[in-house]
């Protein structure tokens, strides 16, 4: 396996840079993943050989660009086992995907006194769009809370799910708690109450195999930049029959079939949602990222990340005064580890780690209501990727201890 790590590391030149004179140890993969050379080369190559606008020209170059752009749609569909490419809408990001559902589909199905059910662990991007929808429609936004072990409280979910629930929207993997929620079960229960199910897969798509048909979800959103792709490209999967009835929310070139001075007729889905020149280079990069992930293999990625977390978590727990959020049992905990050191503010800890070349997040992680529930202002968060090594885990724990010592000595 050591060999595989070394080969992989070569694909990510940034991993061999230095930060504050120390070798970079990048542990903020939940914020954004690093981008392998293969993705960057594919993008450059596209611009240097086939760059043209899509869906517009009848000439050779435009046709090449359009084919490349549409082929990635097939690739994305296959990657999450969507029924067809038409169920894949390109967006900027998970955030835009979720906003599109809330604005277009939400306004279509949610009425006064209906309920929208989300969870207290949601990222702001899967929270504010629903909060706004609830305001617009005078519907009620409800939150499923946590168990004592800081995982999703399924009993509370069953309790809050009812005939008024129109939409259930939930993260597949929390970006703070290190838990993955039982989406298949949630979807089954929600569908029994005739609610639609939206899944925020931002934190899961690069870490486990996703099968939207097996999960039987209505919508699923994710971002290219968290799965080795470039920024600026996201995906919204929607069941074709739902995408079909949803109105577009941006208007302009490419998304229309016909326009007169007084009216316009839309294209069919997914194109009706893609107004204007899309992020063509971003789509090409996303395709390359999927190729890369598939070449490495999602099962290998899952297994490797499991090995890493099983090395990390027990060691981290040993550090005196260190609190880990989310489930304490390593088997339930995935590669996202939020924690705090007693009496130390997470920013100060992160600055200390930064001095040692270790890059972790400190803050509310765009999950302020969750912070309130956990009773903290902020946390430190380390998040792994398959390109991290076991040595990285040891180095990280050592760095945490050093930082703790530094502040313990000073204060």
């Amino acid at each position: 396996m050591a060999n595989k790590f070394e080969t992989i590391a070569k694909d990510f030149p940034i991993l061999s840079r230095r930060v504050n004179s120390e070798p970079l140890l990048y542990l903020d993969n939940a914020a954004t993943s690093q981008t392998p050379n293969q993705v960057l080369e594919r993008i450059s190559d596209f611009y240097q050989t086939s760059n043209a606008n899509v869906h517009r020209g009848v000439y050779t170059l435009a046709n090449e660009a359009t084919e490349a752009y549409e082929q990635v749609r097939e690739k994305v569909a296959a990657f999450i086992h969507a029924p067809n490419a038409k169920s894949i809408v390109y967006t900027r990001s998970t955030t835009e995907s979720l906003n599109l559902i809330a604005s277009s589909f939400g306004d279509l199905v949610v009425n006064q006194d209906d309920e929208i059910l989300i969870t207290i662990m949601e990222h702001h991007s899967n929270l504010i769009p629903w909060q706004q929808l609830a305001k617009r429609t005078h519907a009620k936004l409800r939150y499923v809370m946590l168990t004592d072990d800081q995982t999703l409280d399924l009993q509370d979910f069953r309790k809050k799910l009812n005939e008024h629930t129109k939409i259930v929207s939930v993260a597949q993997t929390s970006n703070v708690l290190g838990v993955t929620n039982p989406i298949k079960l949630i979807a089954k229960l929600a569908h029994e109450k005739h609610a639609y199910v939206v899944v925020d897969a931002a934190q899961s798509v690069a870490h486990q195999k996703i099968d939207v048909q097996d999960l039987n979800v209505d919508f699923l959103a994710f971002s290219g930049h968290k799965m080795l792709g470039p920024t600026g490209i996201g995906v919204l999967f929607g069941k074709p029959e739902l995408l079909k009835v949803m109105p577009p929310i941006q208007f302009g070139g490419e998304m229309i079939e016909n326009v007169t001075q007084t009216q316009a007729k839309w294209q069919q889905a997914p194109w009706k949602f893609e107004a204007g020149t899309p992020n063509i280079g971003g789509v090409i990069g996303l395709g390359a990222a999927i190729d890369y992930l598939k070449a490495i293999g999602m099962p290998w990625i899952e297994a490797t990340e499991r090995e890493l977390i099983e090395r990390l978590l027990p060691e981290l727990e040993q550090v005196a005064g260190l609190t880990i959020y989310g489930p304490q049992n390593v088997v339930q905990h995935n590669g996202i580890v939020a924690f705090n050191l007693k009496n130390l503010h997470p920013h100060d800890v992160a600055t200390g780690l930064d001095m040692l070349g270790v890059e972790v997040r400190a803050g509310h992680h765009c999950a302020q209501p969750l912070m309130t529930t956990l009773g903290v202002e902020a946390t430190v968060r380390a998040s792994l990727s398959f390109y991290n090594s076991l040595t990285d885990m040891d180095r990280f724990v050592y760095a945490v201890k050093m930082v703790k010592e530094f502040f313990d000595r000073e204060s």
Binding site: H55, R56, G57, V58, Y59, T60, A62, N63, E67, K244, P247, E254, I256, E257, N258, Q263, A264, K265, W266, Q267, Q268, A269, W271, K272
Partner: protein
């Protein structure tokens, strides 16, 4: 200069169909009609069909477009007039295969008539949509494809 390659596409029969299209008219007694647009250029084709006892009794078209789309529409009406619906749907699919450079049985090619020569389109991928528009409209009108376009807003 490689304009010679154009000869493959713009053969006499294509140009002839384009300038004197067959069945280019409304059908007052149509049982179904479908309009489709070629989004990249605005070409539009409306196909009319009159079905009796599971047969395409009449099929015609109206609309604007380039040489390829007009010729292809004209050839389509020739090929599908008087043909049983199931067979007409098969011919549509065969035509799609042909334009994508796939081979189809000689008998099917014969059924397609003049349209078979648009197999040469495979060398002009950017123009395939021009040729297939009328056939998609026909297939939709015959119930073989869903019309996924939304209505005027």
């Amino acid at each position: 200069m490689s304009l010679n390659k154009l000869n493959q596409l713009y053969r006499a029969v294509v140009l002839d169909h384009a300038s004197h299209p067959h069945h280019k008219n409304d059908l007052a007694d149509a049982t179904q009609s479908i309009e489709l647009h070629n989004i990249s250029c605005g070409d539009d084709i409306r196909v009319f069909v009159k079905i009796t006892t599971n047969k395409v009794e009449k099929i015609s078209f109206t609309g604007n477009g380039c040489t390829i789309s007009q010729a292809s529409a004209s050839m389509m009406t020739d090929a599908l007039t008087g043909v049983p619906i199931t067979k007409a749907l098969e011919e549509c699919d065969a035509f799609f295969q042909l334009t994508m450079g796939q081979t189809v049985p000689t008998t099917t090619q014969n059924d397609l008539g003049d349209a078979a020569i648009l197999g040469s389109l495979a060398a002009f991928p950017a123009r395939i949509k021009c040729a297939t528009l009328a056939w998609h409209a026909a297939k939709t009108a015959l119930g073989g494809e869903e019309n996924e376009y939304n209505n005027f807003e």
